[in-house]
């Protein structure tokens, strides 16, 4: 028998030829992309205006303070016109609407572990900081309860566990568009029953609402070591995704 790799290559080539070529741009694409570009531009314009206004205001205060004019004097006012905060601190927090959550998990020694990746799918930079919340959901999307108990505990970030240098800017993680932060994840002992046998789960971004995570990308929950034993999920804080070992 020919090896399945060769058969796969041939199948893919054959199936790919079934797709007809595209000779023109669909009008719907033009319309939708015009809306997308306009909305992106509008957001950028608002950001520029807000930041620009802030800088102009700050400069005016500095000038007044320098000339000893009313409104510019006093130590409190001088303090407020001190150099602008670091870029990371000035950026907004990522909201759940801006991010997409994926999991990269695998089984290890009776548990499931890996990382949850939070990617910035918006066109603006934003920041993440602290520990996310995590909730397990049953098949009907309601939080699992009753006998299906579990605990969520905090653990150290992966860079710390690997004795790597502190990532720049941490604990604030700045996400450029398309960049990802990761959350260290480990889960042991799941003896869930009923609609919680293979639970779904969602994470909560501090101060920004919930970001749904549906399923575990084909990864099964950890094995049941004993229904009487606790099921524990350890999660780390947000950290730059590149801090993870590859």
């Amino acid at each position: 028998m020919t090896d399945v790799d060769d058969e796969l290559r041939a199948l893919f080539e054959r199936k790919a030829r079934e797709v007809p070529p595209h000779s023109e741009v669909p009008p719907a694409l033009r319309r939708r992309s015009r809306v997308r570009i306009a909305s992106t531009g509008a957001v950028a314009l608002v950001v520029v205006l807000v930041l620009g206004g802030g800088v102009v205001g700050a400069l005016q205060l500095v000038n007044r303070a320098g000339r000893g004019e009313p409104g510019g004097g006093g130590s409190g006012m001088v303090a407020s016109t001190s150099p602008p905060p670091a870029t990371g601190a000035a950026l907004p927090r990522c909201t759940s609407g801006q991010v997409r959550v994926d999991a990269s998990l695998g089984g290890a020694m009776g548990s499931v572990e890996g990382a949850i990746l939070v990617s910035n799918y918006s066109s603006t930079r934003c920041t993440l900081q602290g520990y996310p919340g995590l909730t397990l959901l049953g098949a009907d999307l309601s939080p699992v309860a009753g006998q299906n108990r579990y605990g969520v505990r905090r653990t150290e970030p992966q860079w710390q566990a690997n004795a790597l240098p502190t990532p720049a800017g941490w604990p604030v993680v700045t996400l450029k568009p398309g960049a990802a932060a990761s959350i260290r994840f480990r889960w042991s002992n799941w003896c869930g029953t009923g609609n919680a046998a293979t639970p779904l789960w969602k994470i909560r971004i501090p101060g920004s609402g919930e970001a749904p995570v549906y399923g575990m990308d084909g990864t099964q929950p950890p094995p049941c070591n004993g229904p009487g034993l606790p099921s524990t999920i350890w999660i780390g804080p947000f950290e730059p995704a590149r801090a993870l070992p590859r």
Partner: protein, 175 residues
């Protein structure tokens, strides 16, 4: 004045997106079709991918980067589609969990008689994506890891498990 400049920029970007569409839509649609097994769905996903990338055009310097970004967006959108579909199915609880993979439905619905194509449809979505990226796109394990955002070890395991499942199913078909 500002409005005119903005409008001119918008027109330029939409025009540039059109050029990129004509250049890359065929490849992207083939990839989406192999990932989903559904031509209409593939067309929709590719259009969604281009709309998403429209907002990023201003930051695009290298066209090679566009191709990689488009590929990743198509893979991510197909994964999101199957994930949504899985949740909908769980919620409605209309299908018993022991049946064929919910992710496989679009390919299975086609009634294709090709045994390998059907076997591919039964694979978990990540394994199928890894096989398509490896054997159709000819990407290296590192490149696949970048697209799927997972460690290289996971890519090796996805490809190996995918091939092994296909071999088993094909052997079963032959018998």
């Amino acid at each position: 004045m500002l409005h005119e400049v903005t409008e001119r920029r918008e027109r330029t970007r939409v025009g540039r997106l059109g050029e990129l569409y004509l250049r890359y839509a065929d490849d992207a649609t083939r990839l989406a079709y192999l990932l989903t097994g559904d031509r209409a769905l593939a067309e929709d996903l590719v259009q969604d991918a281009f709309v998403r990338l429209a907002g990023r055009l201003a930051h695009l310097r290298d066209e090679g980067a566009f191709e990689a970004y488009l590929r990743r967006t198509v893979v991510n959108l197909s994964r999101s589609y199957f994930r949504r579909r899985k949740v909908e199915r769980s919620y409605l609880q209309r299908h018993p969990p022991a049946g064929p993979s919910a992710e496989a439905a679009p390919i299975a619905q086609l009634g294709d008689r090709d045994a390998l194509w059907r076997a591919l449809a039964g694979l978990p979505q990540r394994q199928r994506a890894a096989l398509v990226l490896r054997f159709y796109e000819d990407l290296s394990e590192r490149q696949i890891a970048d697209v799927l955002r997972c460690p290289i070890g996971t890519v090796k395991s996805l490809v190996s498990r995918g091939l092994s499942t296909l071999r088993t199913r094909m052997d079963g078909e032959e018998r």
